[in-house]
Amino acid sequence: MTLFKNLDCMSQKEWPLWEVFIRSKQGLDHKHVGSLHAADAEMAVQNARDVYTRRLEGVSIWVVESKHVHASNPDDAAAFYEPANDKVYRHPTFYTVPDSIKHM
């Protein structure tokens, strides 16, 4: 059964690391809040509930095992991000936004 996919790791010293995302209220995005250790996804959700939602922080929890997060390489920063520096025309700042439109 799926609950025990990672059961082998129970006998290892450290449980795998999981990244935790919390949605603070309906309609908002899930935001990364931190990480924790758990033997499997079910336990990760429960641990996230106990560690990160003790003070009414959320209404929904996502967990992703950290090994599934693929990150950009800091060494690539120049090639990745600097070319956007001189392309201000990509910002939608040339539109007039009516006053009644919030959260833009």
Partner: protein, 266 residues
């Protein structure tokens, strides 16, 4: 204090029923407090940070529930004693918690088995208490049942993990069941006080609660590949004040500040 129950009038009942209600509410209060204290002993000693917090959270849930019961019990008694007097200034023989909850933490498996056996009873009791004609009790049950639903989810999953886990986790959880099962029967064995309240319609029939709890235990044990013990002689006595030696030590620590510095506040 729950604002929703604060303004509710005390039940309009004969003095002897009121005395029974006082004793029963005190029993609920003691039960929650003692288990909360046991779980709090894990604080800083949990096997992993996340589970340390989980146990502290459950402990705090139970402590909150205990306070509501103590406040209501003090009101029912009507002799000027406060929640603190009831919790801190009664001796072990006056405590009315069942034997199960005062048993020592032991290893993590023992704590989990004690918690799971209690959660199965607690959750189903609270479901029923919500319908009690005593509006105070019903109100406290309504708030606490959501917490209990989480407790049982947590402890049940640990039973399954430990039972269907490694050789060592299985050995430990089996040993815990062997040592704690004998205390499970007391939960649903009514005392004369509980019988009187059942007859008066304030408490549900325990046979139904026991059946629901048994069903849940059986389902979780099956998933955990564990065996439900049969024909075990059930210990009882805590609910009538006959405790194991563990309670005295527990209360010594729990009540230390009030005993050493009477009336202290902070």
């Amino acid at each position: 204090m729950y604002a929703s129950t604060q303004s509710i009038a005390l039940p309009d009942v004969a003095p002897e029923v009121r005395q029974h209600l006082f004793e029963y509410v005190l029993q609920l209060a003691d039960t929650s407090l003692i288990l909360a204290h046991r779980l709090s002993e894990w604080c800083g000693h949990g096997p992993i940070l996340e589970q340390d917090l989980a146990m502290a959270n459950i402990s705090l849930d139970l402590l909150g529930e205990a306070r509501s019961y103590y406040q209501y019990a003090a009101e029912l008694e009507g002799r000027g004693r406060t929640e603190d007097d009831l919790a801190y200034l009664r001796s072990a023989v006056e405590y009315r918690n069942p034997l199960l909850v005062e048993q020592p933490n032991g290893d993590f498996a023992q704590t989990i088995v004690r918690q799971f056996l209690y959660d199965c009873f607690h959750y189903h009791l609270l479901l029923q208490l919500q319908a009690s004609p005593d509006r105070h009790l019903a109100g406290i049950a309504e708030k606490s049942v959501k917490e209990a639903a989480y407790h049982i989810k947590w402890s049940a999953e640990w039973i399954i993990r430990l039972g269907d886990g490694t050789d060592e986790s299985r050995r430990r959880v089996e040993a815990a069941i062997a040592s704690l099962w004998r205390y499970s029967g007391e939960l649903t064995t009514p005392t004369p006080t509980e019988q009187a309240l059942q007859a008066a319609g304030f408490l549900p029939d325990y046979a139904a609660i026991q059946q629901q709890a048994d069903t849940q235990v059986a389902r979780v044990f099956e998933e955990a590949t564990l065996t439900v013990p049969q024909g075990v002689f059930m210990q009882k006595g805590g609910k009538t004040g006959r405790h194991s030696e563990h309670l005295g030590y527990l209360l010594t620590e729990l009540q230390y500040m009030q005993r050493a510095y009477p009336g202290m506040k902070w």
